[in-house]
């Protein structure tokens, strides 16, 4: 079963390539200047006088500015720099070190929280507003590695294994994934009574929004975006049959079952920690794909196996918004997911359930990395709010205490921002897949051999190098 207008073949069987239409959706709320550029005014005045004599009052030469981005192109030049144009190139400091200062602005430095760095916030804003892959010159500028996904590098192919030219669209790379239980084997003697799997064109869906952040405009934006992309939108407390909810993935509780009458949702999530709810849902919704939603913990692997045996079609594991599980040690979602995936593989149950991972998926690279760790697809949460220019009012780590507050938005604008974001994340996923020579994101699932971990490489490559005393 395929979903959305982006399906690969329409009803007549005609081939359509999946395409997500990005359009500019500029910021509607002002964003902080990244850099704070300032001149010491007395020295600037003295310099102008000096240069006036040096260049014999040739106005064009004296007033030529040391900036190609127009920071000093305003009426008052260096006396009132146009700060938002500064890109931190430092040429003004190179030319006039005695009077120019360029630094990251305080507002920029305070942006986000302990997980959302200012750079990450800017990246998501940029992606949501332009729909273009962030491209920059020079090399990587950040730390050597970090925690969780930052400890992992993805592989690439070279000479001895074919790569794919998917970046510029010359070879087709599929980013579609299936949700639901897959048959263990083909048996022509029996009728398969399991619900069919659901195919979506990207391995990214929208998770329910954090508590207290849901509002009608944000909901409408997400709904529209999900429909345009052909993906799913998880929500609670939404009445079945309401218009504009075709791409809804509802979270159903026991009390909500009755609302459906004789109908069945195509797919639904439920609280997997509620005893017997799965049994009731399986009995009532025998044609629905049922996804158990639960917090990611130490015992998630064995819980996953148990639920798979009971007949669940998928599991949605939620880490906290900073990408840590709810175990005593607070493991990163990448580690916890590997455990769950590998336990399901060992028990021969992996294809019986689809795994959705959420919590801490905030950058494009987190999607392939989560999939390498064992997820089939991811759900994004706080990233949606950041793309919609929500306001950081403190730490948003715990799912019950969100300090990332949505602002008033136009739903059409919001939808386009989310379409842009998912479109550009898909493009970047294709870059990663093409570098690895893969033509299908489904093949990446759990393929940890196509990743390299800092801790492992360090021990292999620096073996024999003693610690400094």
């Amino acid at each position: 079963m395929q979903r959305g207008f982006t399906r690969q073949r329409d009803q007549e069987g005609e081939y359509h390539r999946i395409r997500i239409e990005s359009k500019p959706a500029p910021h509607v709320y002002p964003i902080p200047n990244k850099f704070d550029v300032s001149a010491r005014k007395l020295r600037l005045a003295a310099m102008l006088v000096h240069e006036a004599f040096e260049y014999k009052f040739n106005k064009e030469v004296v007033l030529s500015r040391p900036c190609i981005y127009g920071v000093f192109g305003g009426r008052f030049g260096g006396f009132k720099p146009v700060k938002h144009k500064c890109v931190g190139c430092m040429r003004c400091v190179q030319e006039y070190p005695h009077m120019m200062t360029v630094k990251h602005s305080n507002r920029y430095r305070r942006l986000g929280d302990s997980f959302w760095t200012p750079e990450n916030v800017f990246t998501v804003w940029d992606e949501a507003s332009t729909g273009k892959i962030p491209v920059k010159g020079m090399g990587y500028k950040g730390p050597f590695s970090g925690e969780g996904f930052d400890e992992m590098w993805t592989d690439m192919s070279e000479i001895v294994r074919p790569t794919r030219d998917g970046v510029y669209g010359r070879e087709y790379i599929s980013t579609s994934v299936d949700i639901g239980r897959k048959p263990k084997s083909i048996d022509f003697t029996e009728v398969d009574d399991q619900p069919k799997t659901l195919e979506i064109p990207v391995p990214i869906i929208f998770d329910e929004l954090p508590n207290g952040t849901d509002n009608a405009d944000v909901r409408a934006a997400i709904g529209q975006a999900a429909e345009k992309i052909g993906t799913l939108d998880i929500a609670r407390d939404v009445r079945f049959g309401e218009p504009g909810l075709d791409n809804l993935l509802p979270i159903i509780d026991e009390e909500g079952i009755a609302d459906y009458g004789e109908k069945q949702p195509e797919i639904a999530e439920f609280d997997a920690e509620r005893p017997d709810l799965l049994k009731k849902l399986l009995a009532r919704f025998d044609r629905s794909i049922l996804i158990g939603r639960l917090l990611l913990k130490e015992d998630s692997g064995s819980v996953a196996c148990e639920l798979a045996r009971q007949g669940v079609h998928g599991l949605h594991f939620c880490a906290d918004y900073h990408g840590h599980d709810y175990s005593k040690d607070g493991r990163h979602v990448s580690t916890a997911l590997k455990d769950v995936h590998q336990q399901l593989v060992r028990e021969g149950l992996r294809d019986q359930v689809t795994i959705i991972a959420s919590g801490g998926i905030i950058l494009a690279e987190h999607v392939p990395k989560a999939i390498i760790c064992g997820a089939d697809l991811v759900a994004i949460d706080t990233t949606v709010l950041v793309a919609l220019q929500a306001e950081f009012q403190g730490e948003t780590r715990d799912r019950s205490n969100c300090r990332l507050m949505p602002r008033k938005i136009n739903p059409d604008w919001g939808a386009q921002r989310l379409v842009n974001l998912i479109g550009v994340w898909r493009d970047q996923l294709i870059e990663i897949l093409s570098a690895m020579g893969m033509r299908d994101v489904r093949r990446l699932r759990g393929d940890i051999g196509r990743s390299m971990m800092d801790s492992e490489l360090r021990e292999q490559s620096f073996k024999g190098i003693p610690w400094a005393t």
Binding site: N58, Q94, Y96, G137, W153, E158, A435, G437, A468
Partner: protein
Amino acid sequence: MGNLELIVEKHTERIHHGLDVLPTLKHGVPEGLGNKRWTGELILATYEQALTGDVPENGLEYKTGNSGGGFDVLGWKTHDDVAKVDEESIDLSIGLNKRPDGKKIEIPLPIYGGGMSFGSISLNFMIARARAAKRLRTYTSTGEGGYPDQIVPYRDHVITQVATGMFGVREETIQYAPIVEFKYAQGAKPGLGGHLLADKVTSEVAKMRESSMFTSLYSPFPFHSVYSVEDHKKHVDWIKTVNPRALVSVKVSTPTDVDMVAIGSYYAGANIIHIDGGYGGTGAAPEIAKKNIAMPIEYAIPKVHDYLVSEGVRDKITLMASGGIRTADDVAKAIALGADGCVVGTAEAVAVGCTHCGNCERGRGCQVGITTTDPELSQFIDPDWGERRIVNLFNAWSKRLRMILASFGLETIRDLRGRKDLLVRFK
């Protein structure tokens, strides 16, 4: 002199003056300068070395960055009982052809310049690099953008790069070259090919690349003529047929099986295997690629070195490393990890004023005339001045390399290769 000339002269003087003044720390380390890999101090220390040709003595950190890993957490063991060696007599030369056949090429320092294409960098900077290579008796590489006439006089010190877009690859440019470099991949964008943004494709660049002006140019990935080591051998044979005296270098990125790629290249007939780590430079690359694809060079070097040793061919192929080599200490650490030498690009750009700000791909390009094709901005780099600074930088690096070798009583840089036992790790 017209106003435009005066304006260019004014800003050229100011920039050059600033590069001289900033490392004195009279105004401190500018707050917004640098990042974790290229810290503000490291950038200023590079300016200082490019100015003086000496190791900085004013307390500027010139050895490592602040990335928290790789070269930045490696240091040198301290030794008390080493034989005294005269620093001046220490030999920094390495051979680039270890095979019994073919021309023997030796460079007097274990460094040559990495590929930077015409189009991604200005012609003046390209000439400066070529002149510096000639003066240092080493090499620089054309990158993928063709072979401008202006660097033909330095052709004995210019490596011709053959990459997937084949821009500017002609019979004569292969015949010019003492070394021909196949670029299979680039560390900063492994597996993704090249991309020259439309703004930089001026009439000169378009002519050189035989394309249309102000149209983005893509180099595909991979070479669609190479899907196996056997195909790769055909490539090597092609070059050796066109120019039998040329050495062949194979530039690859650092996937998990980089060791297999290296041995394959050896058996295909390459003289040099050049591995380019993920944290290397570029004129423009997707941010996701720079940070996430392929392993850093610090991990790839021992992997390749050890494998070549175990296969018994280590002394038959030269292993060059690049992709995040910022300092003389990085060069020495790379060699101690198993490389023969290093290929350097970004450090040369920093020597002539780069701030590692990463705006190379924007509009007119680099504000100080390095990664730009803008006719006005390009003039900030006078080739003579650029040559002098690059030569000074590598002279300073040579002094530092000699200091390191002398501290261990080693008489040649070749003795440092694979000496991991001389390194220590910091937490």
